[in-house]
């Protein structure tokens, strides 16, 4: 019934193959059609799968089918098999739906770039890998997708590889996430050696049967999986790569570093929830990491002056909310926030991309300003996304999901109350940083020329034309209406998506929120959000004068050197000094050791020993190659004589 769903990841992968092989030979229109079309077909297939799933849910709420046996090694035989359940259906729809909108947007956004087909080949490979990740029924196949998206992230961050700084950012992202990936791999090894399987369902059953809650093994496995999740989702302490990942093109940031790949960690924890339920300390750690991430990243976002870095820190902060929800066992709440976050954050990035193009690749927000009049459409789109991010009605998406998480945190009691307080502070900070951004970019007098003014789409930089505008409008509609999937009870909503997700995820033990409590919590968090707007206005008024002068001197495409900031702001701007810390603790000692140890034992054996031996041998036989034909003929004759003699005598 659903066993045709293999084509959902296969379509983008086929698109990747075609683009990778034919590449530059295709005209741009064909490249765009293949790139975006394959993802659209994949979305159509995912929608059909979702409809078929809803119409006739399979027994047990999940359908697993095996395409073929992947590896057989003794009793360990992982298969290439996919699971279709509520969780994977929701993830598939998000990945392909948002992915298609971003592909469509990219056909215009990247139109003037070199490497057009390379871009779409990578993007298609990414979507295919991400779909494998979310559809895999066992953790080994999930790991394949996990590494695939990591590779695409690396390739796309370094898309403009001619600038060494971009290549450095790509390497940093790859290496830092690799630390998490290694942790995840060790976790998988541990699962294979102890439980003998990587099938998610079997793991859940066997672990529950064999391990006691809080046993060492359960805690170790859950902690190792968490290590992988924090690496991919840019949470503490492996968060340093995400702000630098903004070196890639804006659609890449929207798709990979906001909507989909960075949420893979959240998905992993939700998928293996059985292991985390068995390891309460680790689950608590998930919540702590999330709550800390909400505030730390949010406060860093307050002082950034690169528009994309603001959004990057915002992404880390929002992922913190998802981790917080996972930490209190609100599995479906975390996934719901993942979905709404995909809507509003990709809208923010795509809107930001329009501005960046219009400003001729200017990233410095202090060089922008007054754009509300110049780009009214983008302004409204960006405003809708900002309101959604700050969870302010009339947008419903962020409002429903964030308030749901906060209400559940409050209801879960104990540490949950602390998480609620931190989350509430995060709501305020979120509102301040995003409206600071909105005011600086859109309010006041314009500070620089805007290209492509008017209706005509210019060659370099333009207002959002229809190809870029339609994805923005659709995403804005999703921001406005996405919350209807699970509007709070007191507003007469019904948690459609939550009950749907609960067919695949455990419902959790959090007591139902009474209507009164729900009301009060909503009013409190709305107050925090709304309070953020005037505070942001004050911040904007104060910062409007001084940095503007510095920005005037800045060259386009580059962020002007930081104007004189107080030490605290500089500290926040550097992301709480984590880069500095890691540089001092890991990078520099490592480089030092490498330098000191250039000629160690291995080098002496390999380089001098093996190399020297080969040099000797080569000297011994080199004289035979003297270029004399007759000498070679003699060699041939001698060899033939030797062989004949050997045949005759032996």
């Amino acid at each position: 019934m659903l066993s045709w769903t293999w084509c959902i990841p296969a379509l983008p992968l086929a698109g990747f193959l075609v683009l990778a092989v034919l590449g530059g030979r295709l005209p741009r229109a064909a490249t765009a059609t293949i790139g975006a079309g394959s993802v659209f077909l994949s979305f159509a297939a995912a929608a059909a799968a979702g409809a078929s799933f809803l119409a006739s849910p399979p027994a047990g709420g999940s359908f697993t089918y095996v395409l073929w046996q992947w590896i057989t090694a003794g009793s360990f035989s992982p298969s290439l098999s996919f699971t279709i359940d509520a969780l994977s259906v929701v993830m598939m729809l998000v990945v392909t739906g948002v992915g298609f909108l971003i592909h469509l947007y990219s056909t215009r956004f990247m139109a003037d770039e070199e490497g057009y087909s390379r871009f779409f080949a990578y993007m298609n490979l990414f979507v295919g890998s991400m779909l494998i990740l979310v559809m895999a029924s066992n953790l080994l196949l999930l790991y394949l997708g996990w590494e695939g998206v990591g590779l695409c992230s690396f390739l796309l961050i370094g898309f403009w590889y001619k600038d060494p700084e971009n290549a450095r950012s790509a390497r940093k992202a790859f290496i830092v996430t690799r630390i998490g990936d290694v942790s995840l791999a060790i976790g998988l090894f541990l699962l294979v050696t102890t439980l003998g399987t990587l099938e998610v369902k079997e793991i859940a059953q066997k672990a529950a049967a064999q391990w006691q809650t809080g046993s060492t093994l359960a805690v170790a496995v859950a902690a190792l999986l968490l290590g992988g999740a924090v690496g991919k989702s840019a949470q503490l302490p492996l968060q340093t790569w995400l702000p630098d990942a903004m070196a890639g093109p804006s659609p890449v940031s929207a798709l990979i570093h906001a909507a989909t790949m960075v949420t893979a960690g959240v998905y992993l924890i939700a998928r293996t929830n059985a292991l985390f339920i068995l390891a309460p300390p680790v689950q608590l750690a998930v919540g702590i990491i999330g709550a800390a991430g909400v505030l730390l990243a949010g406060m860093s976002a307050l002082t950034q002056r690169n528009i994309k870095r603001v959004l990057a820190y915002s992404t880390m902060s929002q992922l913190g909310y998802m981790f917080l929800a996972l930490g209190i066992g609100a599995w479906s709440g975390a996934i719901f926030h993942l979905v709404t976050h995909a809507f509003f954050k990709s809208l923010l990035f795509l809107g930001g991309g329009v501005l960046i193009l219009a400003m001729n690749h200017e990233h410095d927000i202090y060089a922008m300003g007054g754009l509300a009049k110049k780009s009214p459409f983008t302004f409204w789109m960006f405003l809708i996304a900002s309101l959604t991010l700050a969870a302010i009605p009339p947008t419903t998406a962020g409002f429903s999901s964030k308030d749901l998480i906060l209400a559940l945190a409050w209801q879960s009691g104990g540490a949950g109350r602390v998480f609620w307080a931190l989350g509430l502070a995060g709501v305020f900070v979120t509102s301040v940083y995003i409206f600071r951004l909105v005011f600086i970019v859109f309010a006041g007098p314009p500070r620089a020329e805007v290209h492509g003014h008017g209706h005509a789409a210019g060659k370099n930089g333009q207002q959002a034309g229809p190809v870029m505008g339609i994805p923005l409008a659709i995403l804005a509609a999703l921001c406005l209406g996405g919350g209807l999937l699970a509007l709070p009870h007191d507003l007469g909503g019904s948690p459609y998506i939550l009950s749907f997700l609960n067919t695949a995820l455990p419902a959790g033990s959090i007591p139902e929120t009474p209507l009164r409590t729900e009301w009060i919590l909503q009013v409190v968090s709305e107050a925090a959000s709304l309070l953020g707007i005037p505070v942001a206005w004050l911040v904007y008024r104060r910062s409007r004068t001084a940095p503007a002068a510095a920005a005037a001197a800045a060259t386009p495409g580059q962020v002007a050197p930081a104007a004189r900031l107080p030490a605290v702001a500089r500290f926040l701007q550097s992301g709480w000094g984590f880069d500095w810390l890691y540089d001092a603790v890991f990078v520099r000692p490592f480089v030092w050791i490498a330098k000191v140890n250039v000629r160690d034992v291995v080098d002496r054996i390999v380089a001098d020993g093996v190399g020297g031996l080969l040099m000797l041998l080569s000297r011994a036989v080199r004289w035979t190659q003297n270029g004399r034909v007759r000498w070679y003929a003699a060699g041939l004759a001698a060899g033939a004589a030797l062989i004949v003699a050997a045949v005759v005598l032996l």
Binding site: N626, G627, R628, V629, R630, A633, A634, A637
Partner: protein, 114 residues
């Protein structure tokens, strides 16, 4: 008809082959080398004939005819190469081929390196 013992025929073939081989190795003149190669080919052909008569089969003679035609082709190509070489380096010395033809535009340099 008195027949020659086949051992003698094979011995003759072997001796001819060895003489030809030694000639190829020791001669420096390319023309002589080609001639020696012909001697070796004919030694092989003789071995075919002797073998064919020993076993009373026509295959040996078939192979010899094939060998003659092949030798003709080989000589045509070999002589053409030889002429080309002579045209370039004004010598038939096989050792002059050593490190030769580095750049076709400067054939004179080749002679000097010898």
């Amino acid at each position: 008809m008195a027949s020659i013992p086949y051992e003698l025929g094979l011995l003759l073939a072997g001796v001819l082959f060895a003489i030809g081989g030694v000639g190829v190795i020791t001669r420096r003149n390319l023309l002589m080398i080609l001639l020696c190669v012909e001697v070796m080919l004919n030694a092989a052909g003789l071995a075919f004939i002797v073998g064919g008569s020993r076993w009373g089969q026509a295959d040996g003679q078939v192979m010899f005819i094939f060998l003659i035609s092949m030798a003709a082709a080989e000589v045509a190509v070999g002589l053409a190469l030889l002429l080309l070489h002579f045209g370039r380096s004004r010598t038939l010395d096989a050792d002059a081929l050593k490190a030769s033809e580095r750049s076709p535009s400067a054939p004179e340099a080749v002679g000097d390196e010898r």
